[in-house]
């Protein structure tokens, strides 16, 4: 067997394992869907009326909520990877003559799928609350593409965190910044309404261009500058996460 087909078969076996985990531990999936929706209801129905964003608030908030759904979907992955590490499951795979990347690739794919399920749920609830995008088919394709890229990159980063963390608890905790980042971005209120310091942070952190690009796409008028920055962040996240994850995977026994 060639090394590529070996790697693919190994990845498929790992993916099957991780998919079974998701199906048998529905709480994880439920959490990653439920929290973004609770936050969505809170912002749209409770606070939203007080924000003046020059738009229907649900239309303004949905792109940020999609990113938030991704953030919540990631937490379970770092904890799962860490528990595999702590229980010796990863070492078991490492001492076998199987593809090194397969063990991690299975996690990346499952995480991406889980995050996209959360995004679909958020979109469904958004539509039920009157979300009214002006996006055409190509724009929707762009939204999907960007979400997949973001999830893919962030998955690698989360897996690296999971591999490097000392305990499952600290692995879970280490992903909290990912959940906080959307709050410190233009997800819920425009960044120019924020105080000095926070505003600059919000403008330059990775989620803001990603959210702005999503917002542009959903409104049917994407901005090239934001899209470029968003792509650059996604690629950067993927590279950094991948390199860190692979190095940690090799090193830790």
């Amino acid at each position: 067997m060639s090394s590529v087909s070996t790697a693919l078969t190994d990845s498929a076996i790992m993916l099957r394992r991780n998919l079974k985990h998701s199906l048998r531990d529905p709480v994880t999936v439920f959490n990653s869907v439920l929290f973004p929706i609770v936050i969505m209801l809170m912002f749209v129905k409770v606070f939203g009326g007080a924000f003046s964003v020059g738009d229907d608030y649900i239309d303004y908030a949905t792109p940020g909520l999609l990113v938030m759904a991704v953030s919540y979907g990631l937490g379970a992955t770092s904890a799962a990877v860490n528990s595999d590490m702590a229980k010796g499951v990863i070492n078991r795979f490492k001492v076998m003559d199987i593809s090194r990347g397969a063990v991690l690739a299975g996690q990346v794919v499952v995480t991406t799928v889980r995050c996209l399920v959360s995004c679909a749920a958020v979109l469904g609830v958004a539509f039920a609350m009157g979300f009214d995008p002006d996006a055409g088919a190509l724009h929707w394709l762009g939204v999907l593409g960007l979400l997949v890229l973001l999830t893919f990159g962030a998955s690698w980063l989360t897996i690296a965190v999971g591999l490097a963390a000392k305990t499952p608890e600290s692995a879970g905790l280490a992903t909290v910044p990912l959940i906080m980042l959307p709050f410190l971005s233009s997800a819920f209120v425009p960044s120019d309404t924020m105080g000095a310091g926070v505003r600059q942070f919000a403008e330059y952190q990775p989620f803001t261009p990603i959210i702005e690009t999503l917002r542009g796409l959903l409104e049917g008028s994407p901005s090239g500058g934001d899209a470029l920055a968003a792509l650059a962040w996604c690629v950067g996240l993927t590279l950094a996460g991948y390199l860190w994850a692979v190095a940690t995977f090799r090193k830790r026994a």
Binding site: K20, R24, K87, V89, N91, R92, V95, I98
Partner: protein, 317 residues
């Protein structure tokens, strides 16, 4: 077949400047059981991790199944099976699925039959389709071992395989080890149970402070030390105390009300000991004679190294 299943020479490993392994040499002939004994922190798991390609050594060469672990990593991995210190089983899969996954990863043909046979062998047929999260510690351990055997590896590493097992499960593991060796498999074992090493191993190495304090068969190790003794047991604390005061050369065990006096166990020595006990007025409730066992070997080897760091020179002929 290559002349040695495992060949280690000059193996060194340090973590942050602290030496964990200070140059160890080991040889394991194929089809034998080799036990690595040592107190906690002696470097047993580090050794296993290096031999199983999980860790890189700082210096020295390690050949497993005829391949260098650094240049022939993949060949080594294809030849070995490893059961680590903690049961590395997937809790959200069933026992059968765990075995099935290993068979798939090893590209085993006819995996259904193999899995059924392993479940049978390890007495796991009944819970085979229950999630492993419902298994007891002993069941997990057995499943762990079964998973290691899936690819029929030629060399098996077992890092404390019976720690935390009840006597019955421990016996199952022992039987399996014997069967494996009868089939020609080489087993590299680390254990804290000395009688386990004594019973199963062809060769034993005592690891202490990152060096091999002694290496040989159980009998050879026992001959290295003057561990024979006579044990006097008392029921009356007062009698025990006066005896302890009279017999200064004895080692006292206050909790057990017992005294331990060095002796080779010969008739002549026993008689003179008993005569002497009479003369000083010591009356024990029980007298037992002990020949040195692996416990004595272990205690003396590891104690002396702790104290002088020169046990090797002191003990080896």
């Amino acid at each position: 077949m290559e002349s040695s299943a495992i060949e280690v020479s000059g193996l060194r490993k340090a973590y942050g400047g602290r030496a964990v392994l200070g140059g160890i040499d080991l040889t394991v002939p194929p089809g034998t059981v080799f036990s690595l004994l040592g107190p906690n922190g002696a470097g047993k798991t580090t050794t296993v991790n290096i031999l199983t390609t999980l860790l890189r050594a700082d210096a020295g060469t390690v050949r497993v199944a005829g391949h260098d672990v650094v240049t022939g990593t993949r060949q080594v991995r294809a030849a070995i099976g490893v059961t680590g210190q903690f049961a590395a089983v997937d809790e959200l899969l069933t026992g059968r699925e765990n075995l099935r996954m290993m068979a798939d990863l090893g590209r085993v043909r006819g995996s259904g039959k193999l899995v059924a046979r392993l479940l049978e062998r390890f007495d796991l047929v009944e819970p085979a389709d229950a999630l492993v999260s419902t298994y007891s510690g002993g069941m997990r351990r057995k499943l762990d071992l079964a998973m290691t055997l899936v690819g029929a590896p030629r060399i098996i590493f077992l890092d404390e395989p019976t720690t935390g097992l009840d006597p019955r499960s421990r016996r199952t593991v022992h039987d399996i080890v014997r069967e494996l060796v009868a089939e020609g498999t080489t087993v590299f074992l680390t254990t804290q149970y000395l009688e386990e090493a004594d019973e199963l191993s062809d060769r034993i190495a005592v690891l202490n402070g990152g060096t091999v304090a002694a290496q040989g068969s159980a009998d050879e190790l026992k001959r290295l030390i003057p561990g024979g003794h006579v044990r006097l047991r008392f029921t009356d604390p007062a009698a025990y105390r006066s005896a302890a005061a009279a017999l200064r050369e004895a080692t006292a065990d206050d909790a057990e009300l017992a005294l331990r006096i060095p002796s080779d166990g010969s008739q002549r020595e026993l008689r003179s000991l008993l005569d002497w006990l009479d003369s000083v007025g010591v009356e024990a409730d029980g007298v037992t004679v002990h020949t040195p066992d692996l416990d004595d070997v272990f205690l003396i080897l590891t104690e002396q190294t702790e104290r002088t760091g020169r046990a090797k020179e002191a003990i080896e002929p």
